[in-house]
């Protein structure tokens, strides 16, 4: 009997639209900041739980090891506590949080000799110039110029679900992301993996809208290329 009854209280909350603590925090950013300023343990725990995974993923796009990335995330939260009293809400809390992370991660990455800022010689920033990496997919000359050499096949509608269920495929995606140039990796991590808006990504990484789009495009194209053989080969 208990088995039939126990899920009902939570279902009742859902039916009545009682929000979770996470939803309250998301809806009431001023309240969140105020709670952190006065040192609310519960709110800090939820916010930390909620964002640390995302912060860790982004930090790994700047520094060479997971251990260093974890330290960067810890430093970021300390930065949040140092700065929360002065937070004025000119950007969203999330943008502010990610910016603290990118600043600390850049400093740390430079120290670890991996990360080089945008635009410096030897940096992996790829702008609009240079030959397109998509050239090899298309007929270069003659009457069929610009046409697909090997036309893309249709992916079945359940491809995303199957790809996510396949451990091998998930690993291949992670490896593909990790192998991207840092700037592309930062953009695709924020935009696609974490679902941050284009405008916020530009603010967090201090790049132009056009650069954001170019980097995102190149990163997505490479990940799609990695996925294609899995889908086509029926390995999912």
């Amino acid at each position: 009997m208990v088995l039939f009854v126990w899920p009902w209280p939570s279902r009742l909350f859902i039916m009545l639209g009682v929000p979770t603590l996470q939803e309250i925090i998301q809806l009431d950013e001023a309240g969140l900041v105020e709670a952190l300023q006065r040192g609310d343990d519960a709110v800090f725990t939820v916010v930390m739980d909620w964002y640390s995974g995302s912060l860790l993923r982004l930090a790994m796009a700047y520094v060479p090891s997971r251990a260093v990335a974890e330290e960067v995330v810890q430093e970021t939260w300390m930065g949040v506590l140092e700065g929360i009293a002065r937070f004025e809400g000119r950007s969203s809390f999330k943008t502010w949080l990610f910016r603290i992370l990118t600043n600390r991660a850049k400093t740390r990455g430079t120290r670890e000799r991996r990360y080089e800022p945008f635009g410096l010689p030897g940096s992996d920033f790829e702008g609009d110039e240079g030959p397109s990496f998509e050239d090899s997919l298309f007929v270069a000359e003659g009457s069929g110029k610009g046409y697909w050499i090997d036309p893309p096949q249709g992916w079945e509608p359940d491809t995303p679900e199957r790809a996510l269920l396949s451990k091998e495929c998930r690993t291949a995606i992670e490896v593909a992301i990790n192998g991207l140039p840092d700037t592309q990796r930062q953009v695709i991590t924020l935009r696609d993996v974490e679902g941050v808006s284009a405008e916020e990504v530009c603010n967090i990484l201090t790049i132009s809208e056009t650069n954001q789009r170019v980097l995102l495009h190149r990163a997505r194209t490479k990940v799609r290329r990695v996925l294609d053989p899995y889908v086509r080969g029926g390995n999912l």
Binding site: V43, M48, D49, E70, V73, P152, P160, G195, V223, L227
Partner: protein, 102 residues
């Protein structure tokens, strides 16, 4: 349909957007940074070209897959350490300190 004829027809209808142009502009399209005319030409090409339609769908699925990747696991020791530091920070605050714990 003869491939050359098809390409000529598509070139005429789509303002000479080639398949390569489509592939290179696909993120601009998905990001909504096109003018109305560019958008219409792009959609016209997509409507006529199965290969590019497949490619667009593949890119959309790629984004959908990325969006649902499992979250990066945060080690419990890190959370504990952070909470400890938070409590230390709270006690060092001049006026707030014990005011509220919900």
């Amino acid at each position: 349909m003869d491939r050359n004829f098809k390409q000529q027809l598509m070139g005429y209808l789509t303002g000479n957007f080639s398949c390569q142009d489509i592939a290179e502009l696909i993120t601009d399209y998905l990001e909504g940074s096109f003018t109305l005319t560019q958008r219409l030409r792009f959609q016209m090409h997509i409507g006529l070209c199965v290969a590019c339609r497949n490619y667009l769908r593949q890119m959309k699925y790629t984004v959908a897959i990325l969006r649902k990747l499992p979250a990066e696991p945060v080690p419990p020791h890190m959370k504990e350490e952070l909470l400890k530091r938070f409590r230390t920070w709270k006690h060092e605050q001049p006026s707030s300190g014990s005011s509220s714990d919900s």
